[in-house]
């Protein structure tokens, strides 16, 4: 069931049409990318263009007591210098589109600090120079004095009584307290009762470390003012949302602002943002009437672009002795950082609905505190809430299995939703659409070679091999295809979740497809061409996909949350249906037949029972362009557009299994084998799907093993370059064995479920579970992510999670109960 390469479609032949959907089409996008003919934002050069450089705060929390820009203004080739005071009246606030509770506290987010800085890297002054280097050089001539304020970094300390405040204007560092209680919502029974009645309760504290999306293309923005019109090119995932938000923030009328996302080099949620620098570039362009460019350095990117994850999770599971889960209780502390950006508070709230995973819990309660600290804001990072939830449930299921002495897979099987139970409404109120967890698991076990590895694990244990082997599972699902607009409304999200597409039939028969979804590596141009080739029966090569420019794609809600194909692709298919419906009237007229007698297949209308009488849709495009002969009462066009708003999320699922070697003498871990089978619904292009899974796996594994954004006690980011923030290289990652099962999503015309986040969501707990499975018999019950050799070694040799905290009581109990005879035989520093 591994993805195999399909033969190329034979286009343009008269034989029976071969379906494009399902073909491993090579990507149209590649031609420019592999030859360096790309339009990254930073490539843009405009006449008279000036460059912006940003002076950033070196302190995490402080009042600006003096700011002298005199020398910088006089520096050669400097055109202007602005401080927060200069722009205070016009800068507004970076918008937060997700007030998760009615009483959520949002102190506002200036693009440039006026009186006070709240995280290292916050903008305090900007220099506009004739060259990038002139602007950067002049930054060094600016003098700023700060009166230091106490730095708030630890979430639990931040909400303790008497903690210093990040924002003077607030009463506490708690931005919100969000609760979902299944009992109150009517989707489950009373949680406290379930725990009171439980035979077994397992409680754990998990740490979701802070991560950095670290897209390869640094953020960049160019703003060109033309009279009272502005064009902004930005390395963004969200040109449409950015346009609306930037207009609202700056007061520039929306119709006077065009936003373009040209080629964009990755995002992973990190470019799902309205960035302070985008607003500043717009404000400066308005003031000076000149084109402005800003491109960040990598250090600026790691320090100031939003981060992801950063949660402390208290998870309790209730079960009976037979291993039937009864209840789940989650208390979350979520680090907002210093400000609320676009969907900062919403990320943990989105995750709230995924903690029950694929299991039939009867009761569920979720509480989350969003907490301000003096760090850069968190926001979306690949998975956004769902990796955290999946990690928690997949880890606690393993802990419960240990507590019950059950096989972790047997425990999962006992509790997961069976294939004949779909659609299934979960305790969190979500209606899971389709799937078969057993089949995916069987296939993943086969890909892994499970039995042999279990046997090897046994041998290594028995022989006290210094290199131990472990196997870890993650049987996951996620909510994708963001999103049903009404559901988003009920969650207080500031926008809908529909997507828009239009199709333009050109006179020569070529087809332009305009999508409101904005790619940055996903391959929309290829996959959308496949969709349209099938729908309209035109050659794949005759389709051009346009995107990422608000002047071209008039309506759209952009790309995130594995929504592009599910929602955006569906809009394309719906638009194609309308094109066919319009063309049918013309065809009937030209063929002198009744519409009812026409069949449309392979791009041609033919008359039932009249062989030879047919007209291609590409011919109709020319006929209606000429418009010499068409029916009365209709418009001379077969172009069409459609907006698709799904009625439900889609729910990809899969089984991921990691086999991990742990060297107990050095603490080094090595993934021996990784196998996964994902069900993402209909696969339009297997090559693209496989690539998305690979990339997601890399990022999920990186959370487990490599990456962490670390702040020192003063709030300095100590992982501020790629020397310190460990993005895995090819040598750090294993070969992946991937496969698919296909259960179509019933909620959209394609049947797709979404694939962008699957690998990232699923893999992290599989990897950690595998490492723990390797050393649990040595008394290790948890290892804090990332699993650095030092942490693993400490956990093996000294107990605890290898992190900075002492092992907590619940973990210690679990250690005791899991203590196997072999424990202690490794010696070490106990």
């Amino acid at each position: 069931m591994t993805v195999t390469e399909e033969p190329q479609a034979a286009s343009g032949t008269d034989t029976a049409p071969q379906k494009e959907i399902g073909q491993a089409r090579r990507r149209k996008e590649d031609a420019r990318l592999i030859t360096g003919r790309t339009t990254w934002t930073d490539n843009m050069v405009l006449p008279g263009m000036l460059h912006m450089a940003v002076l950033r705060s070196p302190v995490a929390h402080g009042r600006i007591t003096a700011l002298d820009v005199t020398a910088a203004k006089e520096a050669p080739n400097v055109v202007a210098v602005y401080t927060g005071r200069d722009l205070a009246e016009e800068q507004g606030s970076i918008p937060c589109a997700w007030p998760v509770t009615p009483d959520m506290v949002n102190p506002g987010h200036p693009s440039i600090a006026v009186d006070q800085v709240n995280h290292v890297g916050e903008a305090v002054a900007i220099v506009i120079g004739r060259s990038r280097s002139a602007a950067a050089d002049a930054l060094e001539l600016i003098d700023v004095d700060y009166e230091p304020l106490p730095v708030v970094l630890d979430m639990e300390e931040a909400i303790a009584e008497g903690a210093p405040l990040v924002h003077d204007s607030t009463e506490s560092n708690r931005s919100y307290h969000f609760v979902f209680d299944a009992g109150e919502a009517g989707t489950g029974s009373d949680t406290e009762q379930a725990f009171a009645d439980a035979e077994v309760v397992v409680s754990r504290r998990f740490v979701q470390q802070r991560l950095i999306p670290a897209f390869m293309e640094p953020r960049s923005v160019v703003v060109q003012p033309q009279g009272d019109n502005y064009t902004m090119w930005s390395a963004t995932q969200i040109p449409h949302i950015l346009r609306v938000m930037a207009a609202m923030v700056t007061g520039i009328p929306e119709h006077k602002l065009r936003v373009v996302a040209p080629d964009v080099g990755g995002g992973f949620g990190g470019k799902l943002q309205v960035n302070p620098e985008e607003i500043l570039a717009l404000l400066v362009a308005r003031r000076l009437g000149k084109p402005i460019k800003w491109t960040e350095t990598r250090s600026e990117s790691l320090m100031t672009a939003h981060h992801g994850r950063d949660q402390i999770q208290y998870v309790d599971v209730a079960a009976d002795r037979e291993g039937n889960v009864k209840g789940l209780r989650v208390r979350l502390l979520a680090d907002m950082g210093a400000y609320l950006r676009l969907i900062t508070p919403g990320v943990p709230a989105l995750g709230a609905f995924m903690f029950p995973g694929i299991y039939k819990f009867g009761a569920y309660r979720f509480e989350c505190d969003g907490i301000f600290t003096n760090k850069v804001p968190t926001d979306a990072y690949r998975g956004a809430g769902r990796p955290e939830a999946t990690f928690a449930v997949e880890r606690i299921m393993d802990e419960l299995a240990v507590e019950l002495g059950m096989d972790p897979l047997e425990l999962r099987r006992k509790n997961w939703i069976n294939a004949d139970e779909f659609p299934f409404t979960t305790v969190a109120g979500l209606a899971y659409d389709s799937g078969d967890y057993e089949t995916a698991t069987q296939e993943a076990l086969r890909l892994l070679g499970y039995d042999e590895l279990r046997e090897e694990q046994r041998r290594r244990r028995e022989s006290n091999d210094p290199v131990q082997l472990g196997i870890g599972f993650s049987t996951f699902t996620e909510m994708c295809g963001l999103a049903p607009s009404r559901v988003l409304g009920s969650l207080s999200f500031g926008a809908g979740g529909w997507e828009h597409a239009s199709i333009r039939m050109l006179p020569t028969g070529k087809v332009e497809v305009v999508t409101g979804s904005t790619p940055h590596g996903q391959g929309h141009e290829t996959a959308w061409s496949q969709l349209v080739a099938d729908s309209l029966g035109v050659p794949f090569e005759d389709v051009e996909v346009l995107h990422g420019d608000t002047a071209i794609a008039s309506r759209g809600l952009d790309t995130y949350g594995s929504r592009s194909l599910v929602v955006g692709g569906s809009a394309v298919v719906k638009a194609a249906d309308k094109v066919i419906a319009k063309a049918r009237k013309i065809a009937a007229h030209l063929l002198e037949a009744s519409e009812d007698d026409l069949e449309f297949s392979g791009g041609k209308f033919s008359v039932r029972g009249t062989p030879g009488a047919s007209l291609g849709i590409q011919e109709i495009a020319l006929a209606i362009f000429a418009a010499h002969d068409y029916p009365e009462g209709i418009e001379p066009s077969i172009d069409a557009e459609a907006t698709f708003d799904p009625e439900n999320f889609s729910f990809p699922h899969g089984t991921h299994i990691c086999a991990m070697e742990v060297d107990t003498e050095t603490g080094f871990v090595k993934i021996r084998k990784y196998a996964c089978v994902d069900d993402v619904g209909t696969i339009v292009n297997p090559l693209i799907v496989e690539g998305q899974v690979h990339g997601g796996l890399a990022q999920g594994i990186a959370q487990a093993l490599y990456e962490e954004a670390v702040y020192d006690a003063d709030g300095n980011l100590t992982t501020g370059t790629f020397v310190d923030y460990l993005l895995p290289s090819a040598a750090d990652l294993p070969h992946f064995d991937t496969g698919n099962t296909v259960h179509e999503a019933p909620g959209n015309p394609i049947g797709a479920k979404g694939v962008g986040e699957a690998g990232c969501i699923a893999s992290t707990p599989a990897v950690v579970n595998a490492a723990l499975d390797a050393v649990r018999h040595l008394g290790v019950a948890d290892i804090r992510m990332p699993l650095t050799p030092e942490r693993v070694w400490r956990a093996v040799h000294a107990g605890g999670d290898g992190g900075d905290r002492a092992p907590d009581r619940t973990n210690a109990q679990a250690v005791d109960s899991a203590q196997a005879p072999a424990a202690g035989s490794q010696g070490g520093v106990q």
């Binding site: 360096g36 790309t38 990254w40 391959g523 090559l687 990339g695 090819a730």
Partner: protein, 165 residues
Amino acid sequence: MTSINVRVDGASYSDDVEPRTLLVHYLREQLGKVGTVVGCDTSNCGACTVHLDGQAVKSCTVLAVQADGREVTTIEGLAGGGAPDAALHPVQKAFHEMHGLQCGFCTPGMIMASIDLLNENPSPSETEIREGIEGNLCRCTGYQNIVRAVQQAAGELSGSAGGQA
């Protein structure tokens, strides 16, 4: 300012540059060779990799003046000197065939590093490929299809002598 004479992608350039100008900034800003990109400030990501006298270098770690009198090949000069309809280099073709790229930002550097790898080791093992390109970071692909691409290109290059850049 210092005068330099450089051949880039087959064309000769004479320019005055600041002594501190990095080769990548010279290529991008003075020559308009924007196919070569900057991904970090610490020579970790390799997105800026070009060939200097046939050897891969990270052009953010080379001063423009160090390229004086030498020959630079960028991603734009690989395929027949950059004519739009020129045949692709086997490594470019393999990246396309094996889906070795997604957003494509690391791709120019990744391709230039891969060619250098294959010049030194025409038939690398999977491990040798992974270690050979570890100086180039990709955030999209998880590297598996990049490895496949290099393997495919190795096969094609060894089958057709003289195909290397």
